[in-house]
């Protein structure tokens, strides 16, 4: 399972992070300021959020905006690479499901 290094025990001695809240498919999720949306999901242990045409789950693969596996809909705009997109407080994220007809 993916996770985030707890800042208290991180040897690089980070300052105490500040939080923000986004909603993912209607659920409120807390993240840290400066995180990418994918980073927030991975920190929650979520490694998959998109569903392909064949009904397979996908999450981050390349992590640097090249593979587009991690795309989601952010504030109504589809196909946003969540690994690149910095979260902003109040962002509304919807996961994308290409396997369903007529529901996106």
């Amino acid at each position: 399972m993916s996770s985030i290094v707890p800042f208290e025990s991180d040897p690089i001695r980070p300052a105490e992070p500040r939080c923000l809240t986004i909603s993912v498919d209607g659920e409120r999720i807390e993240g840290l300021r400066g995180q990418s949306i994918a980073g927030i999901l991975l920190a929650q242990g979520r490694t998959a959020w998109r569903t392909t045409v064949a009904g397979r789950e996908r999450g981050v693969f390349c992590g640097i905006g090249v593979c587009f596996d991690c795309v989601g809909t952010v504030n109504g705009e589809s196909d946003v690479r969540l690994c690149l997109r910095r979260a902003r407080d109040g962002d509304t994220v919807e996961t994308q499901d290409d396997s369903e007809e007529d529901t996106r």
């Binding site: 290094v5 690089i12 980070p14 300021r33 992590g63 090249v66």
Partner: protein
Amino acid sequence: MKHVLVIGAGPAGLTAAVAAADAGARVTVLDSGTGPGGQYWRHLPPERPSRREARLHHGWSEFERLRERTERDGSIDVVTEAQAWAIETTGGATVHALIGPSDAAGREALALEADSLVFATGAHDRTLPFPGWNLPGVFSAGAAQALAKGERIAVGRRAVVAGAGPFLLPVAQSLTATGSTVLGVYEAARTPALAKGWLPRPWRLLSSARKGGELAGYLAHHLRHRVPYRLGRAVVEARGDGRVEEAVIARLDADWSPIPGTELTVAADAVCVSHGFTPRLELPIAAGCEIGPDRFVTVDDDQRTSVDGVWAAGEITGIGGVDAALAEGRVAGHLAAGGDRSAIGPARRRRRASADFARRIEAAHGVRPGWTAWMREDTVVCRCEEVAYGALLGTAAATEQGSLRSVKLTTRAGLGICQARMCGRTVEELTGADPSRAADTSDRRPLAAPVRLGDLAGLSSKDDPQKGEH
């Protein structure tokens, strides 16, 4: 005063920017990331300051020096979150970029024409497909690294690192530094290939002193953490119900073909794989730069491309590591600004020493054709369009096609949203395409990034590039 436009703010791009400013130019740097540093110095955002971030990096003081300089110097403007999406060459080269949060609608449009252009767009991992590589929990090695350094995310608790090349070592180190247990680093190259690549002239490795030290450091780190480093092995399958639960590791022959009966299954929740690098060539190609048979931007000893006024530096000119990138960036930036060649003799010599490193990596770790033996009929080759290996080869055979354009359009391999960035080289190799032909290369992408139609429609109707102002 010359205006130099640098694309990419990694080691090569930042060095080029500083060298160009030192030579008297006004410099604009565009980078699609949220901060400078590129993938090599991928770091935490300013919202998450850390006192000992340097621990995660090599050459961090060099980065801090470059960053401070570019921030302080009024003649250098680093524009982050700047996605260059097209280059027009109907007049002088015009670079079109959108500025703002990644993939957002309504970003600010910029059209730049500069006196000189320096490409430093870098490279991304090349991952060969294998059964299960599309399961969540399989990452490119670069993803594991970027998430560890840039977000302090551990992609898994029990991780396997596999593929080919010296880059696997820092990835494993980054993983252990996030608290992951690295079960092993599995390098496809076998001892003879490594010896051929690295041993005949070991002083060459040492002469590229920092690189040698960096690698030695990683090995020491792995000894300390008891991370096994195994040669001649590969992850030939990832398995799990909806996500990775185990990895199958097999021994390889010299051709990278798995040796039957040697499979070993380990429980893991993350598999991090890289088989080398693919340079990001779409923008240099759009600018008209010649690409060599080695699939890198062709440059001369001055980092000059085949197009007048256009330079290239860093991994797009050959995978040479950070020392090469810094030396090349310095040469490119200095000359792009109209600087005198006599001032950069040392950088040009360092650049040559590093080129040797690139050749050694290819000799030791270059992809060998036997890997296809681990593929199955239903193994996905194109992740976006979920095109399976059997369907791809079957259609190419039915159409008797070796040309990539037709193969892509008849199978949909490489037609998806990543535009063949992940599978392009693999599809080329599997179908026998000849990438020296324009119709057969997967690197040509006139749209270098997705653009929303509303943003396209909103572009000013007159061709009116701003001269570097925004």
